[in-house]
Symmetry: C3
Subunit: 266 residues, 3 copies
């Protein structure tokens, strides 16, 4: 039997909003450790990994490891019926082919239960090795979302270049070119407004803006985003989820025809 | 001659917004008692009845009973041109084939008059007998609107079941099932937030969600909605209009193939 | 070399939003006096004239007169990437076929530069003679925008009639007629809420509402609008731009078949 009670139910709503357009169907894996998901996007280019640790739930009962295949569009439809202040409980009986989402209003006057059919989904769990990154940028998530959206109006790809001084986002398209530089800045009033760069060596990588824009749908989950870059590895775009986990997006860089383009430069 | 001056003109704007999608053309009946309308929706399934009592108008002159046929879409276009704080006066000369809506801004700096052509509409006025209902539910109108909208994302019909403890709204569709229970609750800070159930006997009836959603367009007219249910009768969904009348929607329940389904159950 | 630094960058964003739907491509003319534009709309019916005087810029360097052809849609895409509090600098090197827009965030943490290709645009600069107008109406710009929008739901043209008492906006269409009268009113709390009429003689002219509605996209630039009318001349709809210039729209009146219609009357 599975019963997971999440007081801050809006977190689960936001998680679904941030991945439902990227991934159609996925297995949610439940174990003593937590509630997690790993899935490729429908065109098998990007990978999303979610973890909600068991400690983050008010009540967490998971008698045995279970993998539940869900259509994220349908799951999102149901979670949208939860109020933003509702407590959400995820329930499943052993061997059942359904999962139940229960929504309780704060004053307990309104109780809703939504039952959804589970799916059989073939998926292989990829091991994601811990890695050292050449550069890690932490910046306000809204700023990163704004930059990706702005650059999309000019071009299709973004070159992210990191030096000690800052991070540069560049694009070019038919109507011209754009460069946006965010300087390292740690002397801010609120820590979540800082732009912090940890750099082993300068790095410059090119990515499809379409995916970056999709990742930024997780912006409501966290005030900050962490972007980890290495020439040999997929970029990791990570949003922390209020002391209980994270959502991470992985995307391989584009290989440029022109070798010049891939040299680090800000 | 007809001249009806309504200081709270926004009420008339809201009335039109709540019925214009349900009814295309309708006769407005004006008598010494008040300004009223009774009309079937365009597919002849639902009935809407509106009453604005003469006492609710600042000035109410209606020399003889008159029935004015109006296209509600066009009338809505004109009323949308009134400001929310405007005083609205409805005027018609005897025997005229037009009606005039006059809008006065609060400071009298802006005066608009919109003249609309009247239509000849055949309609029979149905007598709606007073009835005893098995169950009457009064609840916050925004809550009812939210429930109808939420259930529409899962299924096409709603089963409304009333017991002493509460009212349950249920639906089912391809992706699963949903049940939302609102408990009777009279100990609230504001009376309009209460959910109050008057029940002679338990009742459970099925309705098309498409119509329920249409009725909830009247939500801005009132903080509360009253739902009156009996197995033998159309449901009445009533929104009171600020001490001057009401708008009532009538809809016949769906007859289930399976007899089990129509038995009262919560 | 050209370098124009505008601290209140949002003004330039608003200017583009107000003309980009009316004009596709246009030459911006830069001289010691200021940054200006004059262009016909794409159907050669309306004329727009913009002036941003050099004194309004924090820094204004224009070594020689230059005319830069820009696609306003693309320019708007780039300016939308500037934050509302950003400082905008327009830069161009002599003989270059590109222009650069630089956006600096208020705290200087984020610097963006957008480079856009220039175009060769044939255009003749029309001399617009100073004229005496029979009537000049100054009124709140939001009120004028609301009236144009409201009348568009009824008809295609607006008759603007001015007398000493006020200004009347009228239209008619298939569903009826509408008249909106704004009275002269100078005894208001805030000067920008006044409706002021300077009249040499009564005037009544007819205009296409489609263009009037397009002009009102400049509403965010100014709290007031000035409408200058004469029977022999195009109307001028002017929005002042915060102590540094203006945007003016010119539109020829429609000639009515029926002579009666063009007589001044309120």
């Amino acid at each position: 039997m599975l019963e997971l009670r999440l007081v801050q139910g809006s977190l689960l709503k936001k998680v679904l909003e941030s991945i439902k357009d990227l991934v159609n169907d996925a297995n949610f894996d439940c174990s003593a450790t937590g509630f997690s998901l790993q899935a490729m996007d429908s065109s098998h280019v990007a990978l999303v990994a979610l973890l909600l640790r068991s400690e983050g739930f008010e009540h967490y009962r998971c008698d045995r490891n279970i993998s539940m295949g869900m259509n994220l569009g349908n799951m999102s439809k149901m979670l949208k019926c939860a109020g933003n202040d509702d407590i959400i409980t995820i329930k499943a009986d052993d061997g059942s082919d359904t999962v139940t989402f229960m929504f309780e209003s704060p004053n307990q006057d309104k109780i809703a239960d939504f039952e959804m059919k589970l799916m059989d989904i073939d998926s292989e769990h990829l091991g994601i090795p811990e890695a050292e990154y050449q550069a890690i940028v932490r910046m306000p998530s809204a700023e990163f979302a704004r930059i990706c959206k702005d650059l999309s109006s000019i071009g299709d790809t973004v070159v992210i270049s990191v030096t000690k001084e800052g991070v540069k986002f560049s694009t070019q398209g038919d109507i011209g070119t754009a460069n946006i530089v965010c300087r390292q800045n740690t002397t801010v009033d609120k820590p979540e407004e800082a732009t912090v760069i940890e750099m082993q060596q300068p790095v410059s990588l090119t990515f499809a803006l379409r995916y970056m824009n999709s990742f930024t749908k997780a912006t409501p989950l966290s005030n900050t985003v962490t972007i980890s870059l290495s020439t040999e590895l997929p970029v990791v775009v990570e949003y922390k989820i209020a002391e209980m986990g994270y959502i991470r997006f992985y995307l391989a860089p584009k290989i440029e025809e022109d070798d010049e383009e891939t040299k680090p430069q800000v």
